[in-house]
Chain length 160, copies 2
Amino acid sequence: MTDSSNDVTPDRLCKADALPPSDQHAQQYVAVRNAHETELLEDYVELIAHLLKHQGEARSTDIAARMGVSQATVSKTVTRLKALGLVSSKPYRSLFLTEKGEAMAAMSHQRHAIVLQFLRALGVSDRTARIDAEGMEHHVSQETLDIMQRYTREQERRSS
Amino acid sequence: MTDSSNDVTPDRLCKADALPPSDQHAQQYVAVRNAHETELLEDYVELIAHLLKHQGEARSTDIAARMGVSQATVSKTVTRLKALGLVSSKPYRSLFLTEKGEAMAAMSHQRHAIVLQFLRALGVSDRTARIDAEGMEHHVSQETLDIMQRYTREQERRSS
DNA sequence: CCTACAAGTTAACCTTGGCTAAAATATTAG
DNA sequence: CTAATATTTTAGCCAAGGTTAACTTGTAGG
Ligand SMILES: [Mn+2]
Ligand SMILES: [Mn+2]
Ligand SMILES: [Mn+2]
Ligand SMILES: [Mn+2]
């Protein structure tokens, strides 16, 4: 027997804490695990694109310094990027992006920029915004990106 | 020998696109890698706390279903949680949180809730907000959390 | 009390993404 | 041109997190 007449408050208290149904909940974690799979690849191609554009070439040693990892780690990851058709290079030479790599870099960079600018527009300090954006960017859906972009533009309009 | 920190490029053109100095940039990635180390642990203890509170007990099989992984995976991760002093249990029995586990669960849950409510306040749909929050939560600094919370409260005040 | 079935564990395997140390290659100085 | 130095690659190691298959343990029905 369910008494629906006096569970108004309990329902509201519970509602906020309730988890979605099991299968929907599981899909949340699946989405996160999927994001983790491409996260590092995105950061690499984004960085390589930046180095190509601003330094003229993308060297492993620069990537290692920027990413805060050893050169051996870069070498191994680059092997994977090449296997995935995102990067091309000759042994012991600097790196280039394939068409596919450039496309991923462009997407990643744009998304990264939207998140970073949104955080700054919200009032987060530059340093913190950069740190948070570096991680958050890989978990922001298109729907949320659109809303962030609208907010940022609105904010910029107001302060001009 | 290439100077990685060369600033030959004109300031005006570069400014919006410029990366932070190499060591600061590296620290961004270090922060993300650190977050990744605790991410799964946080999700587990948060889920266990929820099950204990709302179901009375936390069974491996429920966790597996909610997380979308196999029971074997849960078993192995729980072994790690126990080794870290976050969870306690007897073989073949259901799970409990240690003091330390409860503390982590409380922090994680609060942070998760702040991010989720913020996304909803921004106008993101419930379904998307839940997915994004599941990943974003682990990469949001205290500074940003505070700002998100303020924004959400302001939004709630307006629409009441 | 036994027996089926549900739940939990273990073993063997895989990929990712880190590391250090050593080897190979490229570049630069003399 | 050669020797020193810088860069890149390779080999061998490790932990995290996932899988399937097989085994162990717990529990509920007849
Ligand atoms: Mn990025
Ligand atoms: Mn990133
Ligand atoms: Mn969470
Ligand atoms: Mn999460």
